[in-house]
């Protein structure tokens, strides 16, 4: 990897000052950034190690919701009693990702900022519009089994690789960031972006901004009937071909009061279509309704050859996740 300056600031203000230097980047878990640096995909001139900043690793109640510190490790988040009991969908999604070692290292903030695993993005010997804008996208006619079917552009068909983010999208999380000139809150739907003509930009986080925490609104209605279905090439420790975070709030007679459905592995950001969730409201939970919701979610999907199978796979995975969620709340 390229040489770089290393700093370990003790507080947020010092970190923001260090991050103002051109080419400086924060590092927390480092599990994705160091990997990308070894491949020369990312070449920061300075790393600002934020691990020594106190107070960013807590998980605590926030009114009826929950506040997840940016530096809390993925494993500590997934196994936290408040996450396990109130946001089991989030716990399930986190534990479906990576390995125990990586979950011990990776932070909540870093999970949001991890980059695509598209093989062309990783291989500096090939063109890639995300890595080097304007050079082209060999993935569209190449190795695209893992890549996107929704929200793609002529420039890029990369996917966001996170499992955690799929659940955060379904649960209406908010990302809280700070900068030298203040703080702001970004709705999760607006945090990640579609590639469009600037696929090099993954998120709406601005240079000089640091994620401090993620907040979750009350979601007790989705803590009983939920499922995270992850379809992948291996049983464990593999990125999703398609994943679905689903949660249902059902009346006693099986009528859907509310639904949440978000997909991973299919787009440049976690994919959620609220209109499809509305289609389910007032209807009896069951395959007919679930299939119609799935078709709405997948409207406009297109394959690029190797990933054509993801369209029917995603439909089946949505129906499966909703079916599992329906059964989960039933007495055993």
């Amino acid at each position: 990897m390229n040489p770089f300056d290393f700093q370990q600031p003790a507080d947020v203000d010092a970190a923001l000052a260090a991050l103002a230097a051109p080419g400086a980047r924060p590092i927390a878990g480092g599990t994705n950034l160091l990997d990308l640096m070894k491949e020369n995909v990312m070449k920061p001139s300075g790393l600002v190690d934020i691990n020594a900043i106190a107070g960013l690793d807590t998980i605590e109640e926030d009114g009826a919701g929950l506040r997840l510190g940016a530096l809390a490790r993925n494993a500590d988040t997934a196994y936290h009693p408040l996450v396990q009991t109130r946001y089991p969908l989030l716990a399930a999604a986190i534990l479906a990702g990576a390995s125990p070692q990586l979950r011990n290292m990776a932070t909540n903030g870093g999970n949001l900022l991890q980059r695509t695993r598209c093989v062309y993005f990783y291989d500096v010997g090939t063109p890639c519009n995300k890595r080097e804008p304007g050079t082209g996208c060999p993935a569209k006619a190449g190795l695209n089994r893992q890549l996107a079917i929704l929200g793609t552009s002529a420039q890029c068909i990369a996917t966001h690789p996170s499992d955690m983010c799929v659940a955060l999208r379904a649960l209406d999380a908010t990302v809280h960031v700070c900068a030298a000139n203040g703080e702001r809150a970004i709705p999760f739907a607006d945090f990640h972006r579609l590639p469009g003509d600037t696929p090099d930009v993954d998120s709406t986080l601005q240079p000089g901004e640091l994620i401090t925490h993620i907040s979750l609104p009350d979601a007790h209605r989705f803590a009983q009937r939920f499922d995270y279905v992850k379809v992948r090439d291996r049983l464990s420790y593999a990125f999703a071909l398609v994943s679905v975070a689903a949660a249902l709030d059902l009346a006693a007679d099986g009528t859907v009061r509310a639904a949440r459905i978000a997909l991973g592995g299919v787009a440049h950001k976690p994919w959620r279509v609220e209109e499809a969730e509305e289609l389910l409201v007032g209807r009896t939970a069951g395959e007919t309704a679930f299939e119609q919701a799935a078709e709405r979610i997948l409207r406009g999907a297109r394959g690029y050859g190797q990933n054509d199978f993801k369209i029917p796979l995603a439909k089946n995975a949505i129906v499966q996740a909703l079916t599992n969620a329906t059964r989960k709340g039933d007495p055993r």
Partner: protein, 159 residues
């Protein structure tokens, strides 16, 4: 920027305080193997995909290839060399022998450190849990059944 700047760090490795001067780019794995003389920890993929470099960092299992030595200044590291109690093997080491849980042995230090982390985490209740929570450690010889048996035996989990 001085590309060869040396950063002074102190680590507690296997119960011993050690001091090093390292470039910012040195991973914890390379420090252990090249500077600390502890070659028990293995470099497999060097990309966090195989688990051969697993060590315990402040008691938690991590991939030593995906963290920088300078980031761990002041922290406590346990490698495979630090698990035995004198001449008495760690229960996991003995179990791996008893259950023939390796063939070539290259992944073994990482498997055993990972298993030590798994035991400390206390999340595995069943043999399926053990298999899932050991999935960050690959064994190209395919000794998975025996590895899972060894870990289950130490944890008192019925196979």
């Amino acid at each position: 920027m001085d590309a060869y700047r040396q950063y002074p760090i102190r680590l507690r490795i296997n119960g011993q305080d050690r001091a090093f001067d390292v470039e910012s780019t040195v991973t914890l794995l390379d420090l252990l193997r090249e500077r600390a003389g502890l070659t028990g920890t293995k470099k497999g993929c060097d990309h966090g995909q195989c688990g051969a470099c697993t060590v315990l960092l402040d008691g938690r299992r991590v991939n030593a290839c995906l963290t920088l030595a300078v980031m761990q200044n002041g922290h406590d590291i346990t490698t495979i060399e630090g698990l035995a109690d004198g001449a008495t093997l760690h229960p996991l080491q003995q179990a791996f022998i008893d259950h023939d849980a390796f063939q070539c042995g290259y992944c073994t230090p990482g498997q055993i450190c990972s298993a030590a982390g798994l035991v400390a985490e206390g999340q595995a209740q069943t043999a399926d849990d053990v298999r899932e929570l050991m999935s960050g450690n690959l064994c190209r010889c395919g000794a998975y059944p025996q590895i899972a048996q060894a870990v289950c035996a130490v944890m008192g989990i019925a196979k």
